[in-house]
Symmetry: C2
Subunit: 166 residues, 2 copies
Amino acid sequence: MTERSRSGCPINLSLEVLGDSWSLLVLRDMIFGGRRHFRELLNGSEEGIASNILASRLRNLVETGLLTRQPDPTHRQKVIYSLTAQAIDLVPVLAHLGAWGTRWLPVSAELSIRSRLLADGGPALWQRFMAELRAEHLGVPADPSPGGQPVRERLQAAYPAVLSDG
Amino acid sequence: MTERSRSGCPINLSLEVLGDSWSLLVLRDMIFGGRRHFRELLNGSEEGIASNILASRLRNLVETGLLTRQPDPTHRQKVIYSLTAQAIDLVPVLAHLGAWGTRWLPVSAELSIRSRLLADGGPALWQRFMAELRAEHLGVPADPSPGGQPVRERLQAAYPAVLSDG
């Protein structure tokens, strides 16, 4: 990658790897939405990602080492995508980006509740969430559970609660 | 903006406002490089941004409220760009993105030293840096100085030190 990089600045290299904004949205849907199959990512997309864009972004994310791709052991003919450690390490970046958007942009209540909970939880919650993602995607044994509901479930449970308020 | 947004998700809206990756690099050069004129941003670009791309990104950043544009009081016929509070609030996002790139990508030593110092300094350093940027760009009176070298000078001083090691 170094040869064709615009510069060795860490911010520039990060933006080159994350590519256009669709790539980060695909990672967001895998991280926060728990989606791991092409159809789930396509049909569940709030932004209406096109099938060809999704396919090219998934291919690119695998090539740059942010995702891996395996046959799904539970579904013949299906492929399952997994986050790598490098992708899971984006959780604090996404938490800060979501918090910034929530402060400054006209976000919708139902789609910003997860960002608010994540920002409120701070680094301790992000670390716990990352440990859960490592257990799920990398098979890393989880730490002895601190008890309570897993972080993603907690974030997702807040979503219908906001909808029913509206 | 809401009408043509892909969704009201704070991560999506943030990515829509920040646009393509050049926009964030222009903000990076203003925030960390202290550049405020078109020529400085063009000639100092590590990534070799093209003049027409820079012009369109500056126009877009003004339209979306991340920059303001005024005649430069010290140079006739020159325009000076200022960061808005919304842009200054991106410092923690850029700090996390730079730290992620430094951990996972083949960054160059001289361009990653600022990211390392910023990551090591943590939220306390980012807050101090943001207060300095607000004083410089928004005319907000600085807090009684905690003493010592301003953060940007400290980050920039590390850069030639790494070069002379090389």
